[in-house]
């Protein structure tokens, strides 16, 4: 509460003294936490290694040039795998995300209980990173592209379904009512009243997620789930730094191209 101190003429303070003290207390607590955490990190770090991080980086950097261009012959297949993992994973995710989204949207859900289940699916898919999904799936169905694709798919369902169901909830209800008034069935109301309104979002979300998935699928190989990450892991383990740099270049190129494509597609839709 602002307080007016009349004895010394008109003065104004934003906070009362008590509130000011509280604010200072919060600052104190915050600072103590930061200091404590810093000490913890400091204890667990071997500073001897950090000290020469600069020289190490320069050293590895110098060993990375020139990238081993001839290694490209062995990279085409993994790059192709990576793109397939991302693409097929995204398609699987979209196919599952559509019914989940309709079940999760307030205005289209058949039943509140089904809505809860759909929301639960969305949250659980989103809360697990695709690398962790991959780790689990490699155990279940063995290493390889299949595990990677399913991991990407599982991770993307939540993302796509969430954006989609938010779009479904924001549609113009009048258009649906007009279709309803013609005697159309519920399925037809969805087809004519809702789908046209959310189609742009659907396509936009699809390419956006595909673009993200290209990036995510490049690292899935680290846990054995196929794609270019497998080569990356192998090259780092064998200290083949010129191969590592080549792989990084290829990943960079792939990501740039996918981003370009997704930007083009999204531009075309809107």
């Amino acid at each position: 509460m602002p307080k007016i101190d009349r004895s010394s003429g008109l003065s104004w303070r934003k906070h009362t003294t008590k509130k000011e003290l509280t604010i200072w207390l919060y600052w104190l607590i915050g600072l103590s936490i930061v200091t404590y955490a810093w000490n913890l990190i400091s204890e667990k770090t071997i500073w001897f290694f950090v000290q020469d991080a600069g020289t190490q980086a320069i050293d590895i950097g110098s060993r990375m040039v020139p990238p081993k261009l001839s290694y490209m012959d062995k990279l085409w297949q993994p790059v192709w795998d990576t793109i397939n993992i991302a693409t097929i994973g995204t398609i699987i995710a979209l196919i599952i995300a559509v019914p989940v989204a309709f079940a999760a949207a307030k205005n289209t859900t058949p039943h509140p209980l089904i809505r809860t289940i759909a929301l639960f699916i969305i949250v659980s898919s989103r809360s697990v990173n695709s690398l962790i999904w991959a780790l689990i799936l490699v155990f279940i169905c063995g290493p390889g592209i299949f595990a990677g694709t399913i991991a990407i798919g599982l991770r993307s369902i939540g993302f796509c379904a969430k954006l989609l169901y938010e779009a479904i909830e924001e549609i113009d209800h009048n258009q649906v009512e007009a279709i309803q008034a013609t005697g159309a069935s519920r399925a037809q109301q969805m087809l004519y009243g809702i789908v046209p309104q959310v189609l742009p979002t659907f396509a936009g979300v699809g390419v956006y997620r595909w673009d993200i998935n290209i990036r995510e699928s490049t690292i899935l190989g680290l846990v054995g789930a196929g794609g270019i990450g497998l080569q990356l892991n192998g090259s780092i383990n064998t200290l083949a730094w010129t191969q590592v740099s080549m792989i990084l270049l290829v990943i960079l190129g792939t990501v740039i191209i996918s981003e370009w494509i997704s930007a083009k597609v999204r531009h075309a839709i809107i």
Binding site: Q175, E177, T182, Y192, P196
Partner: protein, 270 residues
Amino acid sequence: MLRIEDLNKKYPTGDEALKDVKLEVPKGQVMALIGPSGAGKSTLIRCVNRLVEPTKGKVFLGDLELTELSRWKLRQARRRMGMIFQEYALVERLTVMENVLSGRLGYVGFWRSWFRRFPGEDVREAYRLLDRVGLMEMADKRADELSGGQRQRVGICRALIQNPDLLLVDEPTASLDPKTSRQIMRLINELCDERSLAAIINIHDVLLAQMFSKRIVGLEQGSIVYDGPPEDLTPEVLTRIYGEENWEATIGKVEEENEEEDSTISKAAS
């Protein structure tokens, strides 16, 4: 044609939108429903095709009691009632043709509507109607590319292709300029004459109501307070409907109709 008996509607919010409304509209009659904002005009016509469920009372379309129909039977009954909306309620991202044909959804199955495979007769009728309202060349344009007046004419086609017995029209001109408003009202009237349709037209513009219909019903706070010919709308009556105001300027000479004919709109059906 339409008979409403002791219709009541109380919204969950507690608003009593309709109180014991009794109304009969014979075949071929175009009736204007006027009344202040919140009087319950929209609620009334929505209770007829049950976009809003009435709380109490009966509605008959011919001999059919609409208020007791199951979902499935209601869908079939809705095909006999065309609805026209204030904000047109076209599906913005569909073409004009798709919007018109969506009026046939009650008659075609799901897959046919999915693949836009409407029966030839429906498509021919759609072209006839578009020609009738002067929008033949617009058939393949997207609905959001049209002007307000053009959209409303598409909305009229969508309602008429249902081949209805009754038109429910909710403020068809509220978003249009005065000239377009007259054209639209004239068009609706002509079409009702041609097909001897009964119609309820909600309208705010008392002058337009007087110009275009032989019967005017005044609704105030959910009750009918006037039911009679346009000539009898005296300042006293308007005060009863809308409240105290200087009404002299609002009341038109009913005779001043048909002054300028619009060539495209009023051309006879060919």
